[in-house]
């Protein structure tokens, strides 16, 4: 990897200016577990690497305004060590922790997972179901966007030249809320999702679902937020009829490809099964979170 240039600014505005000046081959670096693999294999041409990890806001987990702010370059291992985050958002944390091995967890961030824009990125369905937003810094200043608007196709994002994600925000959590993420891989560790499903819901005092969001990974070019699947749970206690409706809605939303990991038919069927199971887990967690 010769002809690589590297800078590690400490201010977000410096990073945005450098990314803009660096042109098409300039890249933000968080954990490097995608970027360095792509550079080393020659899939990405060398250029300017802008390390975000020396920007204080891009590292760490902060509780703000009743929600959580997660610095873009915070590694998965730090998420699993944060007790309050794990209690409020167990589904987001379990999704991020599925990424790779212990070594990969020491580096891999959710923002990198998001901006790499793989349809199978594990943390993204959980973040989309959580209605997470990101703070984006660019040459023109800051803006906020839903996590679901970042990836626009495999390997492609909606970020403009010079823009990068500085923080991921998880909204305030009402009582009796729960989330869960499940993925299917052919082995128990270290593989890419055949399908991933994230469910996030809130119950009223009687256990009736008042809000529900269902997101699916690896069944379309980008992660899908399946509004009909969420709607199938609302007003129910996630009973068998509601789960059957959610399963059907999840399958109907799928637009997958066939590859060595699974056929279109298999992926579609599994999407329904995983959405059902994740909904059941999320429901159980919501009941326990008084």
């Amino acid at each position: 990897m010769s002809h690589v240039e590297f800078i590690a600014p400490t201010k977000p505005e410096q990073a945005a200016a450098a990314l803009l000046a660096g042109g098409a081959h300039a890249r933000p670096l968080s954990g490097g577990t995608d970027l360095l693999v792509q550079l080393r294999s020659g899939r990405l041409p060398p250029g300017l690497i802008v390390d975000l990890k020396r920007i204080p806001e891009a590292i760490g987990i902060r509780q703000e305004g009743g929600g959580f702010v997660i610095g873009a370059a915070t590694p998965g291992a730090a998420l699993s060590e944060h007790r309050a985050l794990g209690l409020a958002w167990p589904g987001v944390v379990e999704a991020a922790n599925l990424i790779g091995s212990t070594q990969v967890q020491g580096r891999a961030s959710m923002a990198g997972n998001l901006c790499n824009a793989s349809p199978a990125a594990d943390s993204v369905p959980a973040l989309v179901a959580a209605r997470a937003t990101c703070v984006i810094v660019g040459p023109g200043g800051r803006r906020t966007a839903p996590v679901g608007s970042i990836a626009i196709g495999p390997g492609r994002t909606s970020l403009a030249p010079g823009e990068f994600v500085l923080e991921i925000h998880l909204p305030p959590r009402p009582a009796r809320s729960g989330d869960a993420y499940l993925r299917l891989i052919p082995r128990t560790e270290m593989d890419i999702a055949v399908v991933g499903a994230g469910v996030n819901l809130t119950l009223d005092g009687d256990g009736v679902v008042t809000e529900a969001h269902v997101a699916l990974g690896a069944v379309a070019p980008t992660v899908l937020l399946v509004a009909d699947a969420g709607a199938a749970l609302i007003g129910t206690k996630a009973d068998e009829a509601a789960l059957a409706a959610l399963d059907a809605a999840a399958r109907a939303a799928c637009n997958p490809i066939s590859d060595k990991r699974g056929t279109i038919e298999y992926r579609t069927k599994i999407a329904g099964v995983l959405a059902r199971r994740a909904a059941t887990i999320a429901y159980g967690r919501a009941e326990k979170r008084a």
Binding site: V4, E5, R40, G100, S101, T102, Q103, G106, R107
Partner: protein
């Protein structure tokens, strides 16, 4: 060629300085600039764990870290594990349990196992297996590795009380 950068870091407790190409990995710098050839390159893509080191307290693949990222950071490698000629209990148990054959994966497995016992002195077997899932071994079939790690953990707990 890009301009080489001067990096100061702490490796196994000792301050080190080296010049590196901005595209070089930490693994390259450890092996080629600092002569620490214990860390191995099995894949170069984060899959095998032979290059495992501890960077500022976190287990990472040094093949997926740029050497320039190490500026001001602490790096622990396999070379820092024994105390002079006295082996670390993990190293001793790997020998006793014959947890290595060709030995290529061994430095990475030892560093990863040490990182586990640093945070979890009393892991279950399944915790140890999951923790070490990113360390591939072509020879041993893992059972002896796991036995050595569990045995070393037990011995270290004895030492601590």
């Amino acid at each position: 060629m890009s301009k080489r950068q001067h990096i100061s870091a702490v490796v196994n407790g000792d301050p080190v300085d080296f010049l590196t190409d901005p595209g070089a990995t930490l693994l390259d710098a450890l092996r080629d600039d600092l002569g620490l050839t214990g860390s191995k390159e099995g894949c170069g893509s984060g899959d095998c764990g032979a290059c495992s080191v501890i960077l500022d307290g976190r287990l990472v693949c040094s093949c997926l870290v740029l050497a320039v990222e190490a500026e001001g950071r602490r790096v622990e490698t396999i070379e820092g594990m024994a105390d002079g000629s006295k082996l670390h209990p993990l190293q001793q148990k790997f020998l006793e349990h014959a947890a290595l054959q060709c030995g290529f994966c061994t430095p990475g497995l030892l560093v990863a196992a040490k990182a586990l016992l640093d945070v979890n002195p009393d892991p279950t077997e399944s915790e140890a297996r999951y923790w070490l899932a990113g360390n591939l071994c072509r020879c041993t079939g893992y059972d002896k590795v796991i036995r050595a790690v569990m045995d070393a953990a037990a011995e270290l707990r004895q030492v601590r009380v």
